[in-house]
Amino acid sequence: MKKKYSIFSLAKNALSGHKEWPKMWRSPEPREFYDVIIIGGGGHGLGTAYYLAKEHGLKNIAVIEKGWLGGGNTGRNTTIIRSNYLWDDSAHLYEHSLKLWENLSSELNYNVMFSQRGVMNLAHNEHDIKEIKRRVSANNLNGIDSFWLSKEEIQKKVPIMNTDNLRYPVLGASYQPRGGVARHDAIAWGFAMRADEMGVDIIQNCEAHQIRTKNGTIEGVETSKGFLRANKIGVVASGHTGVLAESAGIRLPLQSKPLQALVSEPIKPIIDTVVMSSAVHAYVSQSDKGELVIGAGTDSYNSFTQRGGFNIIEDTIRAMVELYPVFGKMKMLRQWGGIVDICPDASPIISKCDIDGLFFNCGWGTGGFKATPGSANVFAHTIAKNEPHQINSAFNLDRFASGRLVDEHGAAAVAH
């Protein structure tokens, strides 16, 4: 039954002491065979299942998840959403996603709290200015809202920022008003709930061990809950995608690295905009709860421990207290790490491969959250039609042989 949420359903349930709410999703035992199995129950994976069911009419779908839904990078990122990317291919992909974000709460009838508070990318030297102006121009010609802000305009939007008395003064910024932040857990839960309603089996605590193939065609996947047969398998396992690909004999150009983030104690609103600075490695927004959500950098080595070095946190905080003098008296409440899978050109892979029926959606590096609905949408298309959507055709695996890369190092918030 389709769940309907509103102030009225809340009031009604309040009267019964909130005991009558339906379950968000079932906890089914896996069936023997599925048309499509999605490996990875994060936002991208659950969204893929949702769009497969909704837009492509597939019903016999499973999402298998090693731990709990949204427990990987979906629940660990700093939730920044924007589409002001440099290259056309990226811009179209992220803009597609941003447009979906804008209607997602109403589409899912679940408030993902997409808050379009604007995203700023700071320029600290002449080189930054050149890069940013080029990107703003490209965005404008692509129909993406993107502006160059002078120092004075930045000060107006973020009065607490110290633009002048610091090692690398703030010289200007790009600004995308439609960018912002969203509630990360909500998108996983929202997609999961609606996919479940359409019959998708969401199976938690089900770890994929090995993808099995025969004569270049997919057979299924060995899991901790037994062997599951499938016509098609989509792997959306972020840091672990490469490991699973390897089990099917596919080598992906991915490296899994630790990426850290932290939040401060909650305080009353102090910064309304999302501010990113790749030059000094610091990006920050303030959550609705009042915590400053701060993203740090990646470590240089591969790791699956979801831990990074403390020196990375130090670097970020040093930049923070310098950029925002009021942060001197703030405190770090929690820090954590995730495993990001990084491609050589800092762009994702949304692609089929040499094995019939095997698809990958990975390589999102440090910026996958913003793409969640868009990536899921075109990945569902790719799986259903066996060929890429126009939007993700550039993000194929062949580009590493041909050399036709989509080099987004400049646009990635964290320098890889």
Binding site: K133, R134, N140, R167
Partner: protein, 992 residues
């Protein structure tokens, strides 16, 4: 409720009075008081308002686990969210309560309580979506944001914190009984030991409770004094007090913060905190346990406190927050509170224990009987009631009868947990103890030892054997300590997580997380909705997501969930404790590497000359480079750049190029190595000649460029871009060591050793002749792209004839120490010829006129030498060099790649803008297909109009055609696509 000052003790002396302000009112406390103990002394129970419902909240604990009593320290740059239970007061301290408006007593936000039935777990996911999405941005979210947050933002603060590194054999965390005993065992051993205590005094439960009566037949306080003295006198044990270990990283890497101003106001300009970074071979966790609370109706009322905290106020601060508290417990840990109360001449108003009579310790029975304390066994508190503080409680006794008792204080104990926060941070595994109803450390992942209650040893009977056994691999003396206890009880507990309320209404609340206002009803709802994984539950309800990370309540939540799901707690799991243990100051983390010490500034050896001569600097990497020179205050940048560039074209200019990377390459196989690193071939190159060279990545894209001077086949000097110096050297090292270890070649950076001055312009030769009269600068003797070594006034110099401006030019390399003298010399010799310094901007303009690229500006990591029209630089006959194979991939040989071209406005009056794109349509209707972008753009005084370099699709074959350039105002300018060279195309000026 009336608190009572008890006897003085070694921590609190009544003659040392201190005044402080709370919410604008002046109060007195004593030296040694925390804000909480001082407020309790003044009978202040209402300290703050809760996060969501704005409920009145008081002081719940006496330590770092405090969820409620968070205050703003106005007198310290308005620091928010400070725990009143650990921050010490000092004379003149100003404190404010948080999250209330207009006042703590009358808080408007408490209206939320009225709507609380709707504000259930995750309510915000289910509403705020209509009638239009604009409502979220413009109405709902601003309202939510204003209501959220705890303290107000602090004021601007530039802290001074230092970082201290330690390398030790053993770190003992916690200076309580077990920590002291462990430290004592290490005295005079061969181990370097660090003992870290969070509080001002060592001693832990010896100071905080009356549990122990005698240690080695001595008064505990005397034993403590002696032991501390022994440890302090030992050479190998160092004590850090006021220091909290917040983070336990891999590998045995601990972060601890020391407060340098405990009990006094931090002094401006002094180090106010120290971050200790500790590397240790072994970590011994003696950080004790944390008492947990219990859930029942209104368990959040001011006047409710954990029982061990109450005891700590008595023993440590000499104050009983109430003369006759009611005690409610399900375990033996609160026995010593009864003892402490009676010892202080007070007694509990009632003792309520959920355990049955036979489980209650005989000692406790005797004590309670002897003192006529009303005892309720097998009983529970159904609820607490009162407005803004506790006034009465409702007890359900063993017969099921209800008893109402008036009281002004309730002390709670729901059992104790080993403080496993740090242990789980270290990735140790926990195991659920079914008897003690708590998670205990099981398998450590790192060399971690846990002792005492931190390990789950809640009794003292195996004290010696436990420590001796766990420390047996160290070469230290065995411990033999005799302990006698006041309350001779073995820890026992009966399962109780929650008492259901007597009368339920929509507004009835039993809290499970005090700070985030999570109720047990929220937990039930989350389970109903299927959030049955503990991480989901935490995120959905925000349970244990507060600044206290649920230290007194997270296990209770697990207990409730396991009961609801009918699973073992072990199967439900536990959430990961994320570092830090307690909120860690940003200033402390930043340390001294910020503000004036943030990233060192690199300066040319003649930086001061630039400073004195009107230079405006730009940051290039870490370097400060003169961007342009202002000859007077009114000169604009445009004017200066035009003047400087014109002067180079007409007379001569001098540029400080010292920041360029310089690498010296030597060795038998240096030639072969250079041939492999750069695209060019250096084999046929003559000694003493120089060559412009490109370096590619293995992907075939241009990574760096520079001039290579060949001194001999065994000796080269390469220059690199300013920003690329470290990368290029790193790349050379990598290939030399890892790919071609057979090549005998060595390289080193000589960037800082030499200053570089670039002099160029038609009059340069005259200036050089005057400056260096002994050198023959004739074209025959000193041709283009050759270099010579000379000695000038005893200084060895190297002069290279090369140019980046398109004019006749020389680069002089001078040892840094002699640079200024020679620079000044050239200036004075050049005066008559109109020589003037120029900055990077004029240099960029001049080189663009000549069509020379700047790597990183005209290239972006996606451009090959072929794209730049520099195929001639590729040593085609070479078997191999970095990136060679990539140049023949299908995408790199594509005809319509983006290629370097020149752009001029069709109408010469029109302006061009850097970063704008070249398109084919005059009208912009986005999305517009873009051919490429303008990489460099300047106004040329030589040409008399704007010109640009651009990389555009199929550029080479588009030369001679017309297109449009976009503008920042989203219109277009007609442009001509031309060859990327605007000045002296046949290099006459360079070579003559």
């Amino acid at each position: 409720m009336k608190s009572i000052n008890l006897k003085e003790n070694q921590f609190i002396q009544f003659h040392q009075k201190i005044s402080f302000k709370f919410d604008g009112v002046k109060y007195f406390g004593y030296k040694g008081d925390t804000i909480a103990s001082a407020l309790l002394r003044n009978n202040i129970n209402l300290v703050g308002r809760s996060f969501k419902y704005h409920r009145p909240r008081g002081i719940y604990t006496c330590g770092i686990e405090e969820p409620n009593a968070l205050v703003q320290i106005i007198s310290e740059y308005s620091e928010p969210n400070t725990r009143a239970t650990i921050k010490k007061i000092y004379e003149g301290m100003e404190i404010e309560s948080q999250n209330r408006w207009p006042s703590l007593e009358n808080d408007f936000g408490s209206i939320n309580n009225l709507f609380s039935p709707i504000f259930s777990a995750g309510f915000y996911y289910k509403t705020f979506m209509g009638p239009h999405k604009k409502f979220w941005k413009n109405l709902y979210e601003p309202l939510i944001r204003r209501a959220a947050g705890l303290g107000k933002p602090p004021k601007d603060f530039k802290g001074i914190s230092n970082h201290i590194h330690h390398n030790v054999d053993v770190t003992i965390i916690g200076g309580g009984l077990n920590g002291l005993l462990a430290a004592k065992s290490f005295i005079n051993s061969n181990y370097d030991v660090l003992l870290i205590e969070f509080e001002e005094q060592l001693g832990g439960i010896i100071n905080n409770s009356n549990k122990i009566s005698l240690i080695d037949n001595k008064e505990p306080k005397d034993w403590l004094k002696e032991t501390i003295q022994e440890i302090e006198e030992s050479k190998n044990v160092k004590i850090l007090k006021n220091t909290l270990v917040t983070t336990y990283n891999y590998i045995n890497h601990l972060i601890a913060i020391e407060d340098r101003f405990v009990g006094s106001k931090p002094i401006e300009g002094k180090v106010n905190s120290t971050l200790h970074k500790i590397r240790t071979d072994h970590t011994i966790l003696c950080n004790g346990h944390i008492e947990r609370f219990l859930s029942f109706q209104n368990n959040d009322l001011p006047g409710i406190m954990l029982s061990s905290s109450f005891e700590k106020y008595i023993c440590r601060y000499g104050i009983a927050p109430s003369k006759e508290p009611v005690i409610f417990s399900n375990n033996s840990n609160s026995n010593s509170l009864v003892y402490s109360l009676i010892k202080a001449g007070l007694k509990p108003k009632a003792y309520i224990d959920s355990r049955s009579g036979e489980k209650i310790e005989p000692n406790l029975f005797d004590l309670i009987r002897k003192n006529d304390v009303p005892l309720y066994t097998n009983s529970q508190i159904k609820g607490a009631f009162g407005s803004k503080k506790i006034e009465k409680i409702l007890i359900e006794d063993s017969s099921g009868a209800l008893n109402e008792i008036k009281c002004d204080q309730l002390c709670l104990s729901g059992g104790i947990n080993p403080d496993v926060h740090l242990f789980t941070q270290s990735k140790g595994l926990l195991d659920w103890d079914e008897k003690d109803l708590t998670y205990k450390p099981s398998k450590p992942f790192q060399p971690t030892i846990t002792l005492g209650s931190a390990s789950g040893q809640f009794n003292f009977d195996h004290l010696n054997s436990d420590i001796n056994d766990k420390l047996k691999n160290f070469k230290i003396k065995k411990l033999d300590v005799k302990l006698e206890l006041n309350t001779n009880a073995k820890y026992n507990i009966e399962k109780l997580w929650e008492v259901s309320p007597q009368k339920k209404s929509l507004w009835t609340k039993s809290f499970i997380d005090l700070q985030n206002d999570v109720t047990t009803k929220d937990i039930r709802q989350a389970i109903t909705e299927g959030f049955d994984r503990i991480e989901h539950l935490k995120r959905y309800t925000t349970n244990s997501m507060g600044t206290d990370q649920g230290k007194i309540s997270s296990i209770n939540a697990l207990g409730i969930v396991s009961d609801l799901l009918d699973k073992k707690v072990n199967e439900v799991g536990t959430t990961i404790y994320r570092p830090p243990y307690a909120p860690l100051s940003f200033s402390a983390i930043a340390g001294r590497n910020c503000y004036e010490f943030y990233d060192p500034e690199r300066k040319s050896p003649i930086h001061n000359w630039h400073l004195n001569n009107g230079a405006i600097f730009e940051d290039v990497g870490q370097w400060k480079r003169p961007w342009y020179f202002q000859i007077n205050k009114d000169e604009t940048m445009h004017e200066a750049v035009q003047r400087e560039s014109k002067n180079v074209r007409e007379n001569a200019g001098i540029l400080d190029g010292s920041t360029l990377g310089k690498i010296e390459i030597k060795g038998e196989d240096a030639l072969e190595f250079m041939n492999l690193i750069y695209t060019n071939s250096f084999t046929k190159m003559k000694q003493g000649s120089a060559r412009y060279a490109l370096m590619l990545g293995e992907d075939g894209m241009v990574k760096d460029d520079g001039i290579i001077c060949k001194i001999s086949d065994q000796h080269f000097i390469a220059t690199t871009t300013t920003g690329g110096a470290a990368t290029v050297l790193g790349c050379m090292e990598e290939y030399a060591q890892t790919e071609w270890p057979n090549l005998k070649v060595f390289m080193n950076s000589i960037t800082e050793q030499y200053a570089t001055f670039n002099i160029s312009g038609p009059k340069t030769r005259e200036i050089m002749k005057k400056a260096f009269p002994d050198i023959n600068f004739s074209n025959e003797e000193f041709p283009f792209m050759t270099f010579q070594f000379h000695e000038f006034n005893g200084v060895p110099i190297r002069i290279l004839r090369a140019s980046f401006t398109g004019e006749l030019g020389y680069e002089i390399y001078i040892p840094s120490n002699s640079a200024l003298k020679i620079w000044e010399g050239i200036q004075s010799f050049g005066k008559e010829f109109g020589l003037a310094p120029y900055g990077t901007e004029a240099m960029h303009l001049l080189r663009a006129e000549k069509g020379y690229i700047i790597v990183g500006q005209d290239t972006d990591g996606s451009i090959t030498p072929i794209d730049l029209g520099l195929s001639w630089m590729i040593g085609k006959s070479k078997k191999d060099f970095l990136g060679k194979r990539s140049l023949t991939r299908s995408d790199t040989v594509r005809e319509d790649r983006k290629q370097l071209v020149g752009i001029v406005p069709s109408n010469k009056e029109d302006k061009l803008e850097e970063g704008q794109h070249i398109i084919l349509e005059k009208e912009i209707k986005s999305p517009v297909p873009m051919l490429g972008h303008i990489t460099s753009c300047y106004h040329s005084s030589t040409l008399g109009h704007d010109f640009a370099l651009a990389v555009i699709k199929n550029g080479h074959s588009m030369i001679g055609t017309k297109a449009y350039a976009s503008t920042s105002s989203m219109s277009t300018t007609g442009v001509d696509i031309v060859k990327p060279v605007f000045y002296d195309e046949d290099n006459k000026r360079l070579v003559s």
